[in-house]
């Protein structure tokens, strides 16, 4: 009896243990799948190994092809796709994108379509809700209707190629390992997904919250002070517009006076908090450079063009490099995985690149509501019913969440705390933007280039241009909304009198072609001069203060002798901080050496004679950076404390810095150095105090030998994995800062030159590199193989298929119908 009881207990225990094993094997932790399917050595994460095998010469069947096509991979992983018709070209591109970036593509479309919580759990619900409110999917549906039939056919062929790979991978049970990690399979690719991917880029580059930030600043500091500290036209931006005029009409009128109430402030705070947690697959802060010089300045007598878009540096990258060849296209450059277009690249006649224009493209409307009129808003003299849309958002590990949004004539309502705020964002205006880029890829001259982009709406870009015939230019088409008699930099009244009455006419958008200075430069600075006839934004985060643009111009103008490819590449790697160059002489004059102790005297010696270059090895760069931060803090923190400003100084350090530079160097009168409750000071006094505190702070952190305070000990770059920190690159000590052409904002910088490209129309050759690799599979040799070259400032030639075939290490897939 005892033995039988023991056996029974043993069996029960064994059952419990087996149940536990199956439970642990099936159910994962957080978003991760269970260990059973994850560790399955034949179909689990381990398939990342076989999936990482580099391509070899082989014949593959690709359903849907009209004729045989080929994909030649060079040793770096760049595919050179050749097809006999355009349909096959984009079908093959879809297949190749999905072969190397399917998970990334799925993740980004999920963000845009509000489906992240479905695979990542309830923590992502706020992101899904926001995206569904903003409405990228709704806009994408409208975008598709505006595509010409041939453009729609391109998207369909591309989707067919993606789906061919999805089906192949599902059949062979070798979907990318990250799908195994999260335990789901991707749905078929739709045309809508590609349109949403374009929308995500627009959101990252052109959806702005600065009117909300400005609301908080105006409320706390007062309208007068806020407009003086964050002017429409800052001093730092006056000498860098690429389109300085003259313009066809008179200058824009100054903005009217502003009033911000408690409700507006509460609504702004609420919405800023809502957007703070959004993931950024592309830009964190807008910053990019492009320029072109014509043949009068180059060694070859033909133009040189450069572009380095500063986006989030991720693994995998936002970019995927390609070379495409078909009867209508012969394009080399970079694509966004998920979209069959080359927004930065070249064909055989012209080259193009982009920086974000950063004009104000987002307007907020404070809708008039009344409890007596529930779910209605007052507009143009009458009450109107809000439109309602509801969604059921699937959530991993839980039940679907019902979400309902309301829309007014202006757009979706994003908050009802304090005020009912609706957003009218130019990215939500339906367009045929993908078609524009397809047309640009086929253009052969400046008129063709401009014609291709005439319907471009958002994100507004400074499209740089150079061609084999010797011409250069920049063209910034897009929607610049015009609002009548109100302040667009603050939430506008929603009752109708401040609605958008039009946009800047296409012929008057910022542009320049073959200028007399023989160069065009854009680096997110305000593109036009002070007498431009339209309001397009303020310094408060709309435009870059202009230091990068100024440094690029200075570097181009100061080079001795005609420009070569190497010169242009060096400027892309330029770590000189123009603000430091300008302010340093004043700082040295402000700090009295006789009063300093040995530590501070030695620190002063480090920066005396420094050239303003934020080299990784430079102690002076560390001292300058610490000083400037302290100078900002010493000047503005008392104001922030006194007025309880709800926006951290660090968030508006760019425009504040521009203003501070102006007061410091010009001696222009300002109340900034006389904060309430404190004695009035001079810039010199504040600078001397800031220098002392900065040096003491560095000494506490790094010891009392200033010569050891290398900038790399303070400042690093991180190329972050989209999936897991263990798959990231860095952090690693690096040069540069937010004001250098080689941009690296923040102490651990996570964005910067995401693609460096130089096109030499003298030799017809072009060069590029980006800090990642072509494959998203972390086991692949092409996962981060380009990072070291990018870091060291090395470039790779953007070869043609024929050139790639002739070089060692290439492999070709012959694609059969």
């Amino acid at each position: 009896m005892v033995r039988r009881s023991g056996a029974l207990a043993n069996a029960i225990l064994a059952t419990v243990v087996c149940g536990g094993l199956l439970y642990a094997g099936t159910n994962g932790a957080g978003p991760l799948t269970g260990v059973g399917p994850l560790l399955d050595p034949a179909t689990g994460f381990w398939t990342a190994g076989p999936d990482a095998a580099l391509p070899h010469d082989q014949s593959l069947q690709l359903t849907g092809l009209h004729a045989q096509a080929s994909v030649t991979f060079d040793a770096l992983g760049v595919p050179h796709i050749r097809a006999r018709d355009d349909h096959d070209l984009f079908l093959a591109l879809g297949y190749v994108h999905a072969r190397y970036r399917l998970f990334e593509m799925d993740l980004i479309r999920r963000q845009g379509e509000g489906r992240l919580a479905q695979v990542l759990g309830s923590k992502l619900l706020p992101v899904d809700e926001f995206e569904l409110d903003l409405g990228l999917s709704r806009t994408a549906q409208q975008d598709l209707k505006r595509l010409a039939p041939d453009e729609r056919a391109v998207l369909q062929a591309y989707a067919d190629g993606v789906n061919a790979r999805i089906h192949e991978a599902e059949t062979e049970r070798n979907l990318p390992a990250f799908f195994k990690l999260l335990g789901y399979e991707p749905a078929n690719w739709q045309l809508l997904d590609t349109a949403v991917i374009k929308g995500i880029q627009a959101q990252d580059l052109a959806y702005q919250t600065n009117p909300l930030t400005n609301t908080r600043l105006v409320k706390a500091l007062g309208a007068d002070r806020a407009s003086r500290w964050f002017p429409v036209l800052p001093a730092s931006n006056r000498d860098t517009p690429y389109d300085p005029g003259p313009y066809q009409t008179a200058a824009a009128a100054p903005l009217p006076a502003a009033v911000v109430g408690d409700g507006a402030d509460a609504a702004a705070a609420s919405l800023l908090s809502r957007t703070a947690g959004l993931p950024k697959f592309a830009a964190e802060t807008g910053a990019s450079n492009n320029w072109a010089v014509d043949g009068t300045l180059t060694a070859s007598g033909k133009p040189l063009m450069a572009n380095d878009p500063h986006l989030a540096l991720n693994l995998p990258s936002v970019w995927f490099q390609v070379d495409l060849e078909s009867p209508s296209y012969h394009v080399r450059g970079v694509t966004f995985p998920g979209a069959p277009v080359v927004p930065i690249g070249r064909n055989e006649q012209i080259s193009w690149g982009a920086t974000d224009t950063q004009n104000q493209a987002t307007l907020y409307y404070a809708e008039k509501t009344d409890p007596a009129h529930p779910d209605q808003y007052f507009w143009q003299g009458a009450w109107h019913r809000m439109e309602r849309i509801s969604y059921d958002i699937p959530v991993k590990g839980g039940s679907a969440e019902h979400h309902e949004l309301k829309l007014t004539v202006h757009g979706p309502i994003l908050t009802q705390q304090g005020q009912t705020l609706a957003v009218e964002w130019m990215g939500n205006v339906p367009s045929s933007g993908l078609g524009s880029i397809l047309r640009m890829m086929r253009a052969g001259d400046w008129p063709g280039f401009k014609a291709a982009l005439k319907d471009w709406t958002s994100p507004t870009q400074n499209w740089v241009y150079a061609d084999a015939a010797g011409h250069i230019g920049i063209y910034a088409p897009g929607l610049y909304p015009i609002v009548k008699a109100a302040r667009p930099d603050l939430p506008l009244p929603g009752t109708g009198e401040a609605d958008v009455v039009g946009t800047v006419p296409l012929e008057q958008v910022p542009q320049v072609y073959d200028p007399p200075g023989h160069m065009v430069v854009s680096a997110n600075q305000r593109p036009v001069g002070g007498d431009y006839p339209y309001y397009i934004g303020t310094s408060q985060d709309d435009f870059d203060p202009g230091y990068r643009a100024a440094e690029i111009r200075t570097a181009l103008q100061s080079l001795k002798g005609p420009l070569t490819v190497l010169d242009v590449q060096r400027i892309q790697l330029d770590d000189r901080d123009q603000l430091a160059v300008r302010v340093l002489p004043r700082l040295l004059g402000a700090v009295g050496e006789a009063d300093l102790d040995p530590l501070h005297r030695q620190a002063l010696a480090e920066i005396r004679g420094w050239d303003g270059v934020m080299r990784a090895s430079s102690p002076a760069a560390s001292i300058w950076d610490a000083f400037w931060r302290e100078y900002l803090s010493q000047t503005f923190q008392p104001w922030w404390d006194h007025y309880r400003v709800g926006v951290p100084i660090t968030e508006v350090a760019g425009p504040l810095g521009g203003a501070l530079e102006g007061w410091t160097l010009s001696g222009a009168p300002t109340d900034a150095f006389s904060p309430p409750g404190s004695v009035s000071a001079t810039p010199d006094l504040v600078m001397a105090t800031a220098f002392g505190k900065a040096v003491s702070s560095l000494a506490r952190r790094f010891g009392s030998r200033p010569e050891t305070w290398a900038w790399s000990r303070v400042h690093q770059r991180l190329i972050a994995s989209l999936v897991d920190t263990s798959l990231s690159y860095g952090p690693r000590g690096a040069g540069g800062d937010e004001r250098t052409p080689d941009a690296a904002a923040g102490t651990v910088s996570t964005h910067g030159p995401s693609w460096r490209m130089v096109v030499d129309w003298g030799s017809g050759r072009s060069y590029g590199v980006y800090p990642a690799g072509q494959a998203e599979n972390p086991v692949s040799a092409w996962y981060e193989n380009l990072v070291d070259d990018w870091w060291a400032g090395r470039y790779h030639e953007m070869t043609t298929a024929a050139e790639a075939e002739s070089r060692s290490g290439s492999a070709t897939w012959t694609l059969q119908p």
Partner: protein, 124 residues
């Protein structure tokens, strides 16, 4: 009194189990080691059969890894997976974890089969 099965029979069953588990893994039936081990020890009662069960399960799970290793595709995958799971990114850790998990499925199933067998047929 436990009736011992001939060693050859147990060994043959073990080999068969390796093949079955390996085949199951190819189509994603990762849990097959558990019922296979259960059957083995349930039908071939005895202490030796439990050892055979977990060893065969471990072998069934290790076999694909061996093939990956031969092709040079295992070490980097293992290091990456180890890192994602929060361990140091060492090539051996995830591989070890994988084989141990397979062995645990075999051990659990074998234990359960043997235990139920003893409940049903105490005299066996």
């Amino acid at each position: 009194m436990i009736r011992r099965q001939p060693a050859r029979l147990v060994a043959a069953a073990g080999v068969l189990m390796v093949v079955v588990i390996w085949a199951g893994l190819q189509i994603g039936i990762w849990w097959l080691a558990l019922p296979a081990s259960f059957l083995l020890t349930f039908l071939l009662a005895g202490g030796r059969s439990v050892h055979t069960a977990w060893l065969a399960a471990a072998a069934g799970w290790a076999l694909p890894l061996v093939l990956l290793t031969v092709r040079g595709q295992a070490a980097r995958s293992s290091a990456v997976l180890s890192g994602i799971l929060g361990f140091p990114s060492l090539p051996v850790l995830a591989a070890l974890l994988t084989v141990v998990f397979g062995a645990l499925l075999g051990l659990g199933g074998g234990w359960l089969g043997s235990a139920i067998s003893r409940v049903l047929w105490p005299a066996r």
